[in-house]
């Protein structure tokens, strides 16, 4: 049987406010445990919440960026349940009247599949703390620094039909929130976390199959793998005559398996009701329009501009505009070197390779856009070849320094002096009788390919510094002269 996969995502985005959503404690990541958990965050008796204006502004920015209706009246509600990382015994969230109503984003997978994904809504809520399970004499330790960090939870409709679409959607949301500057996008630190609702149904069937929810996935790659794994499990299960249970499952990337979260099976009743310590948030058109004025260029617009202004391919423009920090970096390189295609190749190629290998975000790249731009300029003006540039880049990455400093220090400047090159070429030809004979014996149209050997020898002799264009010309001239 042919199966159709149905996926909806709930993405939690940590807003990059300075302080918590309801208290004046800092949200900075990585502090000592509980040093950023104030009396309000600890839910000390008698403490009360006051709403952070920046969290509101950021949520509205997001809503505008995804073509959504903005809730002119939104209401915080309490979701009641007990958990040690939830100090008040309820999470303050929004349910019936969220800040962001229905909207949509357009996505495109690497294979070029395009789709419009509808957003059901997005709401503001507070993050919980963390339970640390290292062994404290058989107990768990609770760190509440994260408690009260503002989140926007973005709930999609079940509009995605493959794991690739789900990942593309998550990437698009990532691109939007980082472009807006409302989230640092650092998935490893949990700044963006994904719950995937996954079900399968026979192709052509109208109603949805039973879905499972995959919790807390924190990379695009894991979104794809977790969904693929879960889809395979569901199909196997159904084809073996079983039924899918509606449940929450956890993806284990090491085993590439999903497993049921037993502790969540205990049916809860969250007893939502409007939080009486907070009042309805009411905003008007002028507030919304003032925020609209401040919106930066969004990923879709930037992509279109990259194609138009920089003459990039659809694919390159899509990749480069997909992450705002990368797009910013790319544009800075273009500004420094003036070559849009060379800049694109290097940002998506060599730089991306190093960032990946070192698990580094482009914002923390040890090679700045100016440094890279300087390097590309030296390729353009034939000071160095592309291959030498890679060596310079490696030095730049590990030891720092400008392209010119490295080229100078290491004596990598390209040899363009034709006299010097001619001398080396003569030496190479004089010491390669066999290859010269073969060259002379070959059909004239095949001779071009035979230049490679001589080229290699010249480069070897010059330590790669000879200008490849000049070498080719001289070699051809001298060898062809021997053939006459």
């Amino acid at each position: 049987m042919e199966w159709e996969v149905v996926i909806g995502l709930e993405i939690h985005v940590q807003l990059s406010t300075t302080t918590k959503i309801f208290s004046g404690a800092s949200t900075a990541f990585g502090a000592e445990p509980n040093t950023q958990a104030c009396a309000v965050d600890l839910a000390l008796p008698g403490t009360l919440p006051v709403f952070n204006e920046n969290a509101l502004r950021m949520a509205v920015m997001f809503g505008l960026a995804v073509n959504a209706e903005i809730g002119k009246r939104s209401v915080f509600e309490r979701k009641n349940y007990f958990y040690p990382d939830l100090p008040k015994g309820y999470q303050t969230t929004q349910l019936a009247e969220p800040i962001v109503g229905p909207g949509f984003v357009d996505i495109e997978t690497e294979e070029g599949v395009q789709r419009r994904v509808r957003l059901h809504h997005a709401h503001l809520e507070e993050d919980a703390g963390k339970s640390l399970h290292e062994d404290f004499h058989g107990m768990s330790g609770i760190d509440l620094n994260r408690a009260g960090t503002p989140l926007v939870e973005i709930v999609s409709e079940p509009d995605m039909r493959s794991s690739k679409e789900a990942a593309a959607y998550a990437r698009k949301i990532h691109a939007i929130v980082t472009t807006l500057g409302i989230c640092d996008g650092n998935m490893a630190e949990g700044s963006m976390r994904c719950d995937c609702n996954v079900s399968v149904r026979p192709k052509g069937q109208e109603e949805y199959g039973t879905r499972t929810e995959l919790k807390n996935i924190n990379s695009f790659r894991f979104i794809e793998r977790a969904i693929d794994t879960e889809v395979a499990r569901q199909i196997d299960l159904i084809e073996d005559g079983g039924t899918v249970l509606q449940e929450t499952r956890l993806y284990d990337p090491d085993k590439n398996q999903t497993r049921s979260m037993r502790s969540k099976e205990d049916a809860n009743d969250y007893r939502y009701f409007p939080c009486p310590d907070l009042l309805p948030v009411v905003i008007d058109d002028s507030y919304i329009e003032a925020i609209r004025e401040t919106l930066p260029e969004l990923p879709d617009a930037r992509r279109a501009r990259f194609i138009e202004e920089y003459k990039l391919s659809d694919y390159d423009a899509g990749v480069l505009s997909g992450y705002s920090a990368q797009a910013d970096y790319y544009e800075a390189v273009v500004k420094a070197c003036g070559d849009t295609k060379l800049a694109a190749n290097w940002v998506m190629g060599e730089l991306a390779k190093y960032l990946n290998q070192n698990d580094t975000d482009i914002k923390q790249s040890p090679v700045s856009a100016d440094q890279l731009g300087g390097l590309l300029e030296r390729i353009k003006d034939d000071t160095i070849s592309g291959n030498i540039a890679k060596k310079v880049f490696e030095t730049m990455w590990t030891d720092g320094g400008s392209a010119d400093e490295i080229i100078e220090a290491k004596g990598l400047k390209q040899v363009t002096d034709t006299g010097a090159i001619e001398k080396i070429v003569d030496d190479v030809i004089a010491n390669a009788d066999k290859q010269v004979e073969q060259y002379k014996a070959a059909e004239p149209e095949k001779r071009g390919k035979m230049l490679g050997f001589f080229m290699g020898q010249v480069m070897k002799a010059t330590g790669g510094k000879a200008n490849p264009g000049a070498v080719t010309g001289i070699l051809k001239k001298k060898l062809d002269a021997l053939c006459d």
């Binding site: 000390l44 403490t47 009641n80 007990f82 040690p84 609770i142 007893r271």
Partner: protein, 483 residues
């Protein structure tokens, strides 16, 4: 000294008749000698009080003293006081030393007040008799076999027994006005949002309000001058100018329009109490006020609406007491769930557990619309009834309670009959209106309260009306036998 009002004590401090240290020592001595009869204090803060009194005397010497400098008061034990146990009369918080001062407490500190101690109350302010206190009931100074009312029963008893010149209280459904009535003192529940709730351990957030309890309306005005005002830490606090409540106390009441709600004068009301209230109203007529009958048709509905909203909010507000970050944790929990259930099961008393359960049930999926939402709708209807009446009259007058103080233990096993005693006070909290209780007579030797109700932010008017009554009568000067 012990029969003086705050205003009189303030005058004595200013004239140098006594120092704050002398005053404070005298009150502390009296508490030590007498409170075993009334159990009105949970904690007496002698050291802090003497330090504050010393600072007050220095302020007088330096010429920096304000109107409240050096005046001793007591705080209900659900207001967070830095470095001092804040127990809410619960085993749950028996060991809780608050690391911070609530806004109202801080304002009194700033004003130079002296804190004598923390007063007894119903556990987490849930009750109308003070019998749910983990520390045992406070007793009514007029008859120690009777309840002082609740939940601010310790504050009521302490002021009535002259163990504090005045005290703070909180009122979620009558918890200032009812003990004030039953103890023969004056109490004011301000408009919702007038006094910051930051640092008041929440019972029902949308109903809770802090207010003064003292012998006179003038003293309440002095206290409200300190307590009232906008607080950026409380989202429900109102950003609205605070008048000087003492300057309008003496305005004449000629032409004052008084409404008497017919629904408050029914069979539920003890006829002797009714008589005292009507006599009080007659006093106002002598002063030139006019009286008319008005109708608050949904009065009875305030009980069911209140007993949904208050427990629902409380069930959620009290979830933070989980034994993780502060408060009681059971011995040797075998796992997380056991820790939650036993810490809460052992840490909370019966009435608190009962209300948490009612509230939990009312908020469950499937009951939300029928209970919580319905109660909030009725709440609006009740508010509309008041609004309509308050367009016709300046103040509404009514009994504070249907009966004088009942006996300890009398209603212990019947929560519903206890709840019915709140019938005249609950609706003000639902509507967010201010109300006062003023002593207006004795029935069988027990005090009875006249309730004065006004429009939102009409505290100055209520205090003016009550003060004029106290200029014409001396019910507020009566003291229990032996005091």
């Amino acid at each position: 000294m012990f029969d003086k009002t705050l205003a009189e004590l303030a005058a004595g401090l200013r004239s140098g008749e006594f120092t704050s240290t002398e005053l404070t020592k005298a009150w502390l001595e009296r508490i030590k000698a007498e409170d075993s009869k009334y159990n009105s204090y949970i904690t007496v803060t002698e050291e802090e009080a003497l330090a504050q009194a010393k600072a007050a005397d220095e302020a007088f010497a330096a010429g920096t003293a304000g109107p409240f400098t050096g005046l001793p008061i007591a705080h209900k034990d659900l207001f967070c006081t830095q470095g001092v146990r804040t127990s809410c009369a619960s085993k749950m918080l028996d060991n809780f030393i608050s690391p911070y001062d609530g806004t109202m407490v801080a304002k009194f500190k700033q004003a130079g007040a002296v804190m004598l101690g923390k007063t007894n109350m119903d556990e987490f302010a849930m009750g109308g008799s003070n019998e749910s206190s983990y520390y045992g009931p406070a007793r009514n100074p007029w008859d120690t076999d009777r309840v002082p009312g609740g939940s601010s029963g310790g504050s009521g008893a302490a002021v009535a027994a002259r163990l504090a010149p005045a005290a703070t209280g909180s009122d979620t459904g009558g918890s200032i006005r009812q003990p004030a009535a039953l103890c023969g003192i004056t109490g004011l529940k301000p408009t919702y949002g007038r006094v910051s709730r930051y640092g008041m351990v929440a019972f029902a957030s949308s109903l809770d309000q802090i207010g003064p309890m003292a012998h006179t309306a003038e003293d309440c005005a002095l206290m409200l001058n300190v307590m009232a005002g906008f607080d950026p830490m409380d989202s429900t606090s109102v950003d609205r100018e605070v008048p000087d409540y003492t300057v309008t106390l003496n305005e004449p009441l000629t032409g004052l329009k008084i409404g008497l709600p017919k629904e408050y004068f029914t069979d539920t009301l003890d006829p002797q109490v009714a008589k005292k209230v009507r006599n009080a109203v007659a006093e106002f007529e002598k002063m030139g006020a006019t009286v008319k009958e008005v109708s608050l048709p949904r009065t009875e509905l305030s009980i069911p609406a209140y007993y949904i909203i208050a427990p629902a909010e409380a069930s959620s507000n009290l979830s933070r007491f989980d034994g993780v970050r502060y408060g009681y944790r059971c011995e040797d929990p075998k796992d997380l769930e056991d820790m939650y259930k036993r810490s809460r099961g052992e840490g909370f008393g019966e009435e608190v557990k009962r209300r948490i359960m009612v509230g939990t049930y009312a908020l469950c999926a499937g009951y939300y619309d029928a209970y919580y939402n319905k109660a909030q709708q009725i709440r609006r209807l009740i508010q509309q009834d008041f609004a309509k009446v308050l367009e016709e009259v300046d103040v509404i007058m009514a009994p504070t309670t249907p009966h004088p103080a009942f006996k300890l233990g009398e209603k212990n096993n019947d929560p519903v009959s206890m709840y019915m005693e709140d019938i005249y006070t609950l609706s003000l909290n639902l509507a967010g209106l201010p109300g006062m209780s003023v002593p207006c007579g004795l029935v069988n030797g027990l005090p009875v309260g006249l309730q004065i109700i006004g429009d939102h932010f009409a505290e100055a008017k209520l205090l003016n009306v009550a003060h004029q009554f106290q200029q014409a009568t001396d019910w507020h000067k009566q003291a229990p036998a032996g005091i």
